[in-house]
């Protein structure tokens, strides 16, 4: 017997584990008859998941937490048993802003502290000259993109709410908005950074792994109530996604995976562009400069698919830091409970690993992250909307 499932996704490379699970038949092998539904907005994905039109979804990790806490929307508890993508975002800037930052930088342009400090000097110079504040695009208020941009610029002394404009833009509009000067920079997932570079209108300034060593961007999300009623179906779905992630991460399979993702019903961009992002080998400048990173876009390798509640705690801490919510211990607990390594372990049958300890985030600035002391952690940052 097969179980029909409707799963929503946004056309991005980090939906790859779901797409490949369906296209390669891994889901069917698990007895699942999955209909993938391509959506145009995260709001749609969230709402259709909330009201049960979707059984599962490719979702921004912070939206899963916000939905569980009832922030910015109705409260619908969500659980995330599988990370779909880590570190797939990048910060892309216009050629003009790139030149301005390079003109101010004092040292290695790969060093995010130095670029953020250079940005701060660019911002100050523009203010002095009476120029409009710079505008940065990101994809959603509750997104890792938003927090990565804010974390980066604030470390250099730029207040993201006071010194620049941060605007929400749908990913497919990012490139046009950079081209027509509507934004000066953006933080978005693959493949849109590469598309901007190929068009000669953007420079990838940072892979987000420069800013945070590990950041969960998208998760496989289901309603908590649904997960409790359908534990076996969920386990089957996690296994199918896990198998797909493993398939994608084998270098010899990447061309095939890119070919699948490039289909018009999935992402609908050139397979070669997708292949670059899967291999972590990206053209970062219109002049053809290539940058390779083993930390770019993790789809399951190095245990990336296994949810880590400490990651959820960090995302919650960012919501607090930027005034999206207030610090409440019970909310922290609820946020951490969204990420479910136990469901992942049960489904994949992998031995439960003891917490590795150490800093789960690896941010370039500030103290190591400690989920047990978020107030103390946030107190180390000068810029923020948070009041103790």
């Amino acid at each position: 017997m097969t179980t029909p499932l409707h799963i929503g996704f946004i056309p991005l490379v980090d939906a790859s584990a779901l797409i490949v699970a369906v296209d390669k038949g891994f889901a069917a092998t698990e007895g699942l008859d999955v209909t993938l539904v391509r959506e145009v907005s995260w709001s749609n994905v969230r709402d259709k998941l909330n009201i049960g039109r979707f059984d599962a979804a490719h979702l921004l990790a912070p939206v899963a937490i916000a939905s569980s806490l009832g922030l910015g929307h109705v409260k619908v508890p969500i659980v995330a048993p599988f990370n779909l993508g880590l570190n797939g975002n990048a910060i892309t800037v216009s050629p003009a802003l790139h030149a301005a930052i390079m003109g101010e930088i004092d040292g290695d342009p790969r060093n995010p502290l130095l670029t953020a400090q250079a940005l701060s000097r660019v911002v100050a110079a523009r203010r002095k000259a009476g120029a409009e504040p710079l505008t940065f695009g990101m994809t959603f208020p509750f997104s890792t993109h938003n927090y990565q941009l804010r974390f980066w610029m604030a470390a250099g002394g730029v207040d993201p709410d006071e010194d620049v404009h941060l605007v929400v833009l749908p990913p497919p509009y990012m490139v046009d908005s950079l081209a027509n000067g509507h934004v000066d920079a953006f933080c978005v997932g693959a493949p849109w950074n590469s598309v901007a570079v190929d068009l000669g209108i953007g420079h990838i300034l940072h892979f987000v792994s420069d800013i945070l060593v590990s950041a969960v961007e998208k998760v496989l999300a289901v309603r908590q109530g649904w997960s409790e009623k359908n534990p076996e179906v969920l386990a089957a779905l996690v296994r199918a996604a896990s198998r797909a992630a493993h398939f994608i991460e084998q270098p010899e399979n990447r061309a095939e995976a890119a070919g699948i993702l490039a289909k018009p019903e999935y992402i609908g961009v050139d397979a070669e562009v997708i292949l670059r992002t899967l291999g972590g080998r990206l053209k970062v400048s219109p002049d053809g400069t290539i940058r390779e990173s083993s930390r770019y876009l993790l789809v399951g390798r190095e245990g990336a698919a296994r949810p880590d509640p400490a990651q959820a705690a960090w995302l919650y801490a960012q919501m607090v830091r930027w005034g999206q919510t207030t610090m409440r211990p019970e909310a922290l607990k609820a946020a951490m409970a969204v990420f479910r390594p136990d469901l992942y372990d049960a489904a994949t049958g992998q031995p439960v690993r003891a917490a590795s300890g150490g800093d789960p985030i690896g941010a370039f600035a500030g103290p190591a992250f400690n989920p047990d002391d978020i107030a103390g952690h946030l107190a180390a940052f000068e810029i923020g909307r948070w009041k103790p």
Binding site: S43, V167, V168, R385
Partner: protein, 196 residues
């Protein structure tokens, strides 16, 4: 309803026809202050300038995520805006999602005043989908008509048949092969292209 008591409604929709259908319905129901925004660039700035009580947006519009930013603390917003989704009104939410529309209200507008707007919106969106379907069906019927006529012409020329005989031949072939006459006509066109 006087102009002051009629809530100001902004429709965000890239389809001018659907927006017009909705706007007409709203006006007929006495909602006289209706503004249609088609241009998605600087959407937030336009909305702040209009300062609406209700915002209606179609779900095919990626700019829905842009609206979500308005829930965030922002000094640019005069009043906070909350989405009209109340857990007690699940039927209404599902109906609007299925119809393909979403409504946002500015805090302060009473729920009973929103209900008729949303209901109207749902019925107009559904009516538009139906129209769209009919239009698509009519278009494909017209297309099929053209293909059949061309296939008929080919048969008449190649086999020296009359128009009626050509049609009967296609129809009987279609029945025998359990296919639509349009499909048979298309195969004739394809074959004749290949044999040219």
């Amino acid at each position: 309803m006087s102009a002051e008591s009629s809530p100001k409604i902004v429709i965000v929709d890239e389809s001018p026809i659907r927006a017009a259908i909705l706007e007409e319905g709203l006006r007929e129901a006495g909602f006289t202050r209706v503004v249609h925004i088609r241009e998605m660039q600087s959407l937030l700035a336009r909305i702040y300038a209009e300062d609406p009580d209700v915002i209606l947006i179609d779900l095919e519009n990626p700019s829905r995520d842009v609206l979500e930013a308005m829930f965030q603390v922002s000094r640019a917003v005069r009043r906070p805006i909350a989405m009209f989704v109340d857990q007690s009104d699940a039927a209404s939410i599902q109906a609007s999602v299925d119809a393909g529309v979403s409504a946002y209200i500015v805090d302060g507008l009473k729920k009973e005043r929103i209900k008729p707007i949303l209901d109207l919106c749902i019925s107009r969106f559904n009516a538009f989908s139906k129209l769209q379907d009919e239009l698509d069906r009519t278009k494909s019927a017209l297309e099929e008509r053209k293909v059949i006529d061309r296939a008929k012409g080919i048969l008449m020329k190649v086999k020296g048949l009359t128009e009626d005989e050509a049609y009967v031949l296609m129809r009987s072939t279609a029945m025998r092969e359990k296919k639509k006459i349009g499909e048979i006509a298309q195969s004739i066109l394809t074959a004749s292209e290949l044999l040219k």
